[in-house]
Amino acid sequence: MNVRADFPQLTRFINGKPIVYLDSTATSLKPRSVIDKINEYYTQYTANVFRGIYTTSEEATSEYEKAREKVATFIHATPHEIVFTRSTTESLNLLAYSLHPKEVVASILEHHSNFVPWQQLSYLTVWDPEKPIDSVMTNKTDIFAITAVSNVTGIIMPIKDIVRTVKGINPKCLIVVDAAQAVPHMPVDVADWGADFVAFSSHKMLGPTGVGVLWGRRQLLEEMKPFNYGGEMISEVHVDRTVFKEPPHKFEAGTPHIAGVIGLGAAVDYLTKLGMDNVRKHEEELVSYAIKKFKEVRGLRFVGPDIRSGVFAFTMEKVHPHDIAQILNEDNIFVRAGNHCAMPLHEHLGIVATARASFYVYTTKEDIDALILGLQKIQKLFS
């Protein structure tokens, strides 16, 4: 996969040196085509959606809805089941506020965004994936919240099997999948998963920040109450009552991030052209290369399995993750340090913090070589 020329930021030099971007799990870089598409909205057809009779408003509306169709096709869904939000976090909060579940089970792997809303608004029980699901689930569990890919261990969860097990215990239990780390990195078929809701973000899949997606089963979206009230989401307003639009627009109150959604559409085009099977294959190659190379750094340990998505959280003997990230930064090697919005998981693993390197379509073996060299330097400095 040779796509680096498509990403303007990769041509940047800082202090006379190129950059090695290894934090795609936090956010991805953006290809030229996405930036151009956003620019097109702002230079050619800036107008609000759904209200103008005039040409540019119709163009904006058409591009906005075309993006919805692209996203739907990308995850094997239908467009009226695709709700645009601000982020994965907002998608999940929408569910927590609109569904008002009493009892929720969430896995210990969850990012805070698929954990804290449930903890604050419901009675939360935590599932350790090494234990059977029926050890924590009951027939009173309203929601089962699960990540498709951990942003720390990189583990790819068997969502289809989990859905079958959960529905076997309680057919009424709704399954909420955080797919923020899955949709950008591998083929995802929501119909095949069989879950009830799937949330993900534009900015982790080459699209702009500020746009999230919530996929939900049509019937559930119809039954649910809106999350925000106001303009754009209504069909009639009278002094004494309001009739809401049908989903998905019922959940998109206010002027949406029009340019962002259109940009996401371009990101989906870009990924579709690459082919998600190829994206996954590229990451598999990088993962096995990284595992081989990590052995060359004394005292390095990464958490999680060998078969994984392209993300490695790791520790080094005698060196704090903050020091790792800061020293790598001297050579423009960008990794993250901390608990990566997964503090319960770090506590569960008995680790305070980790450094994390993550890959995407533009990552090369040379990037991993640079990381290894940097880590060896650190190892020497601290020994």
Binding site: V319, H320, I327, G338, V352, A353, L381
Partner: protein, 120 residues
Amino acid sequence: MDLYREEILDHYKHPRNFGHLSGANITSEEMNPSCGDRVMIEIAVSDQEIADIRFSGQGCAINQASASMLTEKVKGMKISDIMKLTLYDVEKLLGTTLTPSRVKCALLPLEAIQKAVYGQ
């Protein structure tokens, strides 16, 4: 690599005043949960002065070096003077300016010391 020069790494690898103080009459603990830095301070105070001090805990190089250097500096200092120490003094000890993301690491030991002696 200004931040990780010899002196800081030396304080990190061989921290001064590290351990416990049997004659301590005040102690305090500060922690930064997001990165796990943790500093415990044990101080023997007499006549409004720090007679002796030890620190323990764990953290990044900046955090531990800052604790090590600070404990050296405050030994024999008046409490009223310790309360006047700021980030500026810590940066002077470390011999560098800190980026916003690392300020908390460097300040944690000072906060622990000031909290311990406050009101003494």
